[in-house]
Amino acid sequence: MTAGSATPAATTAPEVPPPAIRVRGLRKVFGSTVAVSGVDLDVPAGAVLGVLGPNGSGKTTMIRMLLALSRPTAGTVELLGAPMPAAAGAVLPHVGALVEGPGFHPFLSGRENLRRCAAAEPLLSTRAIPDAVQRALSRVGLTGAAERRYRAYSLGMKQRLGLAAALLVPRRLVILDEPTNGLDPAGTRDVRTIIAELHASGATVLVSSHLLAEIEATCTHVAVLDHGSLIAAGPLAALLDGEAPALEVRTPDSATAVQALRAAGIDVAICPAGVRVELAGTDPPTVVALLVGAGVAVHEVQRRRTELDELFAQLTGGHSQ
């Protein structure tokens, strides 16, 4: 990531490409339920944005509004620099999406289903359709099951076919709503590979998930939704480094350990397993040397990075009450 990620709140310098997604004041109300409220979001071109949030946090509702499947109660959406839904005819051909699970006809084979999708793709010439369908099928590993009826597909195969439909045409923006739902570990790996390939080809990717490991493994940017509000957004690295790292030492001699470390001016606290050492101004070898020097029995030392799931728990935990 280059300049784009450094300034997510896009300033309008003329040579900077428009953000792939730009959302202002997005709000959606169903009856008395506020599904999405006041979301402002900029996704720089080329980024892989992970949208995190517990079930019912408004991820899918937001995505549906991005794609003009649903009309916002208030707010504006720009995709690839053009306003939605006004410019849908120009924008959507460049956008691939898998929203709310795969949707296909049960009585048609996987290949037939994709051909039907392909027939509606403006950027595909009629002659290019069979090849595009074949490429998409092999990209998601469905070549062997292409002639089977969709009805007979497993949940994972259905999900793969949905992914294939999003990848029928080279896209500038790919939006994947819970793409690894129902996939086995190999399938999850395949999705990561596909996202990495899309990223390498310069496409912008938005992937929503409630599986945090997935986001951490594939994304450059993260947005966290909770109860319809965006409670954190930015480059992944920046969010992860937001908190100081710590070291967790498993030991039965926690009192001695605290004494020894405090004497050396290191911030330390007792935790169930032993002690938790803040790594501000020191490093693990120093800490371990101090402890061993003080005669503390060190059973295990673990670096506690502020992992995304911890961050996620912190972010959503505070707001869910």
Binding site: T2, A3, G4, E15, V16, P17, P18, A45, G46, R64, L67, A68, L69, S70, R71, L80, G81, A82, A87, A88, G89, A90, V91, L92, P93, H94, V95, A97, V99, E100, G101, P102, G103, F104, H105, P106, F107, L108, R115, R116, C117, A119, A120, E121, P122, L123, L124, T126, A165, R172, G202
Partner: protein, 287 residues
């Protein structure tokens, strides 16, 4: 980064659309390959065959005048079969197609795919309307063609061997008899197009295909009930089903056009209203 940025500007110059012909072909393929469409078409084709065999086997049924005619008059069979199927089975076939067209696609999640491609919402409704019309044509064709074949095989073109004996007692040649049958078929397609457009309007407002079937077929039954109540005579001109018996006019000589024309005009009104509602509802539909 900047090159992709420039790329956006150049390729996003204007809307691009898939060729309309390709969309229509894809729709027709999907509609006609659908197992339930094929089953309904098969059942419809059986109707004139069963009617033909039934009437020939029993000699003279002594029922309606029309059915009695069939016994000695092969080309009456397709018209009689169309008239009987129009009461329920043909509207059922068309309504099923319309129910699947928008509500069914929505239920399967495939409507989203089409809108995301994107297919504009107006085009979507028009392409769907073509699909429904195709089912109407196929349904009428299977009844008419099997009716002609069964009639000719079982009875011969006419009891008199010269042509068709009309209800008015005159004879017309086999050529113009076929023309009469085609007229009946075309008129039936027109009535079904009206049913289909209304069904499409209902289909655009729900994601449950069953609701469409219930609403449209229920509506037809209610129309039948209303037209049977003398106090509600003034309603007659508004009901689509009023004058559906006019199809037997094609068996009269000289051909009275008034009934066929006025029912067709009424069907055209229903068609326009149905399509307009479907377009309006789809334009704001959340998919």
């Amino acid at each position: 980064m900047t090159t992709t940025g420039d790329g956006y500007r150049t390729t996003l110059s204007g809307p691009v659309r898939a060729p309309l012909g390709r969309l229509v072909r894809s729709e027709l393929r999907w509609v006609l390959r659908r197992p339930r469409t094929q089953i309904v078409l098969g059942i419809l084709a059986l109707i004139p065959v069963l009617m033909g065999f039934g009437i020939v086997a029993t000699g003279s049924p002594g029922g309606s005048g029309l059915l009695t005619q069939i016994a000695g008059n092969g080309l009456v069979l397709p018209v009689a079969a169309l008239s009987i199927s129009l009461a329920l089975l043909l509207p059922l076939a068309v309504t099923m197609a319309a129910a699947d067209a928008l509500a069914g696609e929505s239920a399967h999640g495939t409507l989203r795919g089409l809108l995301l491609a994107p297919v504009s919402r107006t085009r979507l409704v028009l392409v769907k309307a073509v699909g429904v019309l195709a089912v109407a044509v196929a349904a009428v064709a299977s009844v008419a063609v099997l009716g002609i074949v069964t009639g000719v095989v079982l009875v011969g073109p006419s009891g008199t061997a010269h042509g068709m004996l009309t209800l008015s007692g005159t004879e017309i040649g086999p050529g113009s008899a076929l023309l009469r049958v085609s007229l009946a078929a075309a008129w039936t397609v027109g009535q079904l197009a009206a049913v289909g457009a209304v069904a499409l309007a209902v289909s655009s407002a729900t994601e449950h295909p069953l609701v469409v079937l219930a609403a449209v077929l229920g509506g037809l039954i209610v129309f039948g009930v209303l037209s049977a109540i003398p106090a509600l005579d003034w309603l007659q001109p508004l009901l689509l089903t009023t004058g559906w018996f006019a199809i037997t006019d094609v068996l009269r000589d000289p051909l009275p056009l008034h009934g066929l024309a006025s029912t067709s005009l009424r069907a055209a009104c229903y068609l326009l209203i149905g399509l307009a509602l479907a377009l309006a509802r789809t334009a704001t539909r959340e998919a």
